[in-house]
Amino acid sequence: MNVFLSAFWAESLKAHRSKISLLTTIGFLILPLAGGLFMIILKNPEQARAMGLISTKAQLTVGVADWQAFFGMLSQGIAAGGAIVFALITSWVFGREFSDHTAKELLALPTPRWVIVGAKFGLIALWILGLALLIFVVGLGVGTAVDIPGWSLALGWSSFWTVLLTTLLNFMLMPLVAWFASMGRGYLPPLGWTILAMVFANIFSVLGWGDWFPWAVPVLTSMMYGTRAQDIGLHSYVSVALTFIAGLILTFHWWRSADQSR
């Protein structure tokens, strides 16, 4: 356990000192703030027009100003935006070892390679969870400040669990991103893969096969109260779980066996 904690401490220090932790937090905080702005506008579109918050020609058809719509916005934002932001974090945690040429310092150590890879995944999991919780808590604050109607404790809890489930599903897609970062030795291959996966997720969703495509599952799950919710089933979660396992196997195997000739 001490071995893992040492590796985890090292990974945490790297993350703590990097600018990316601050940038991802600030970037993700836009989500509840933008959600709050939408709620203000939806609550009173005429006043928003008069204040110049929206154009007089704007047609607002996104929904009504209540907690259910606000939570829906948050969880969908975490699902869709999170796929990009979480992939950015994963790409950095793994890819920076190659772009900074520090990977070679992690290979011939008394700390086994699998422990280092495990510590990286542990850090990513906590980082992602922390971001999702931060967004939810800030969202609660913004929603209260804006005085959105329709609050109930049951709705708050169910939205909280939806956010957690969406975050977990997104996290389970990250090992494959880590593998692309390791195999591609940098940031570009995993980010390229993420964009490609998002494009395909949209295509599959439009074709009605999104529930079978792992990269579409978090977004569909986040629409639990929407019309798409019925698409999601056990098969969807199994597809995400299989992607998770495949990503872990590929990443651990790569760090164990691949030639580190650069």
């Binding site: 590796a7 401490w9 090292a10 220090l13 600018k19 520090t102 011939a108 086994p112 030639d259 000739s261």
Partner: protein, 303 residues
Amino acid sequence: MNFAIETNGLSKFYSQVRAVDSVNLRVKPGEIYGFIGLNGAGKTTTIRALLGMIRPSAGSVQVLGQQVGPNGRGPWSRVGHLVEQPAAYPELTVRENLEIAHRLHHIPDKNATARVIEQLALAAYADRKAGILSTGNLQRLGLARALLHEPELLILDEPANGLDPAGVVEIRELLARLAHEKGVTVFMSSHILTEVDRLATRIGIIHKGRLIEELDAEKLEALRSHRLEIRTRDLQAAQRALAKAGFAAKANESTIFLNDARAIATPEEAATILVNAGTPPFRLAVEQEDLENYFLRLTGEKT
């Protein structure tokens, strides 16, 4: 354990390229082994194979009596290494970079980081971010990381890279001290042959992936060619006098060279001939071929 490093038929092929071909290395404990070769000769590939960073296409590697295998298996708590350009986390300070290595090596001595900072003269830079270090100080950081856990074996790829002349001498003395006082085995690759020449007790020469020569420093001394170098005011007259006395003299614009064993054994004879011929030498010395010339001659890069 007979050898600190032992490879048997170590080979690494990349497609058609034979980066390392059937290399049999034997490095004894306490030795300072200089591993020299041209760019692309296979030095770094060999070092990566010794550290388990690449899987050999054929052959085996033993380090400190332990087989180096997949999954990074090896005696790494007893080995310090520096591979190619030193790398560090740029946003972390020198001290933090070393603290990470300290943790990952599970070093019980809490003062180890402070000790290597002092040892490598990094105290003035300890709280500076690694990203703004000079190449020389980055190299010192890499060496500090290699020495942090007081290893029995140091595997160093170009340890003098980026160091200023004073730094080169300092590191040479440090490595010599570690070998002589603490019995640390040093395996170092270098293209600065004068450094290897001054430090190594044994030398291996790798060329086009093959270990073409492996010899002790004393044996190398004997193998290097010697010649008598003479400088005088009248080169032509001196050359004529030496030829008349039976010496095969060659000359360039300023110096006469005699390669005969007789001239090397009795340089005073050549001096007497030149004095008698009215062209006394103002410089006369038996010079030994340096490692650089020996290396170039051996690898066929210079005839």
